[in-house]
Amino acid sequence: MTASDDTKLSNAQIAWRAAQDIADGAYVNLGIGFPEMVARYQPAGREVIYHTENGILDFGQEPPAGEEDWDLINAGKKAVTLKPGSAFFHHADSFAMVRGGHLDVAILGAYQVAQNGDLANWSVGAKGVPAVGGAMDLVHGAKRVAVITEHVTKSGEPKLLDRCTLPLTGVGCVTRVYTSLAVVDIEGGRFVLREKLPTITLQKLQSLTGAELVIAGPVADLIVPEL
């Protein structure tokens, strides 16, 4: 944890924690924005192959400024590089990889997650221009769909809820949530607490969570390095 704030994890630390659970040999899709950070903290010695919806398997980090090839971008439309062994494919093949159960892990952001595994991460309501992209596809098919998120909203409202109130991205799709305070599994329609920051009490954590945190087995300390 950073010296300045030991009461919650930074985004980088949440991403680091999620990266520890990605196994050697996994095929992984990281949602655009915050989830892309997970790739930076891939543990050494593991070979992980990243998929991007627009049609690349096994892409690498962004190139130095000035060396971008704008035909070589990721789903966030940022320039990327290739690794030896990468592959291009068209959009129907790309989403066959997604829906067809070929990805091991998808890691996505969230506005809200419900204890039954429902996810809301594409729309905050009726105002403005609606945009969905691949969010509704990505929640189906990956063997494991995990979410990384702040535990509460900027105004302090719980993001882990009994039921989502925002428009759904998918029904019953999320299996694990990494937050700024805890690691929570979704099992049998309930939030099961697996890890929490040692500096927060269970009562405080429960008060920041919009549904019951079930204790089923040991709750480990959530320990993350300074990043």
Partner: protein
């Protein structure tokens, strides 16, 4: 057989009012800027083609390419998955003013609807969007205990696609991730119009490497050193 056409203007000359036009690209990657701009040129000069239905993943960026098409007022409806970009103002203003219709489709469903259109499959079931507002009004069914949403094929009168190598028979390769929707759209349009960065003699492309076989392509026009939307936008370009 010779599908080559001399200029982008000639290649898009018969696209008429109210046509449905698929346009390849994911953001700027694969966007057929020269074909789009040739269509804009005709609209500016003649007022046609107007009221087009455009199928694309996005809704344009800045003031070139698809965004410029929308800006000059030749698009009546857009079918896309993600109408946002670094600079989405052109679409956003038209949409909020009620001047353009939007059919929002999840990205993988958009791809599969186009694939189905090209493959003669009128409908299919997908898990995507089940239980969400984008499934409202669509039939659902259970298969092996899981719920799915019925989606219909998507076809077009024309497709505008950017490829890398092409020959007079219409065989194509693409450049890196610019492939994206191109191969699908070529199959789903009555006339696939393709700009290639290099026209090569038949046999130059190894048959093992052909990505789009020529049967799916109607016209090939060579555009060497094609514009890249991202670079146009970084330079602050506008069109026309």
């Amino acid at each position: 057989m010779d599908k080559t056409i001399a200029t982008p203007a000639e290649a898009v000359a018969d696209i008429g009012d109210n046509a449905t036009v698929m346009i390849g690209g994911f953001g700027g990657s694969g966007a057929p800027i020269e074909l789009i701009h040739a269509l804009i040129d005709r609209f500016v000069k003649t007022g046609s083609p107007r009221n087009l239905t455009v199928v694309n993943n996005n809704a344009g960026n800045g003031h070139v390419g698809l965004a410029a098409m929308i800006e000059v007022g030749m698009v009546g409806k857009l079918i896309c998955s993600f109408p946002r970009s670094a600079d989405p103002r052109v679409f956003t203003q038209k949409y909020l003013a009620g001047d353009i219709a939007l059919e929002l489709v999840p990205q993988g469903t958009l791809a599969e609807r186009i694939r189905a259109g090209g493959a003669g499959i009128p409908a299919f079931y997908t898990p995507t969007s089940y239980g969400t507002e984008l499934a409202n009004g669509k039939p659902t069914a259970e298969f092996d205990g899981r719920p799915y949403v019925q989606e219909r094929w998507l076809k077009a009168d024309f497709a505008l696609v950017k490829a890398h190598l092409g020959d007079r028979l219409g065989n194509l390769t693409y450049n890196k991730a610019a492939r994206n929707f191109g191969p699908l759209m070529c199959t789903a349009a009555r006339h696939a119009i393709v700009q290639v960065s290099q026209l090569v003699p038949p046999g130059t492309i190894d048959p093992e490497h052909v990505v789009t076989p020529g049967i799916f392509v109607s016209r090939v026009v060579e555009v060497t050193n094609p514009a890249q939307e991202e670079l146009l936008n970084r330079a602050g370009a506008t069109y026309p």
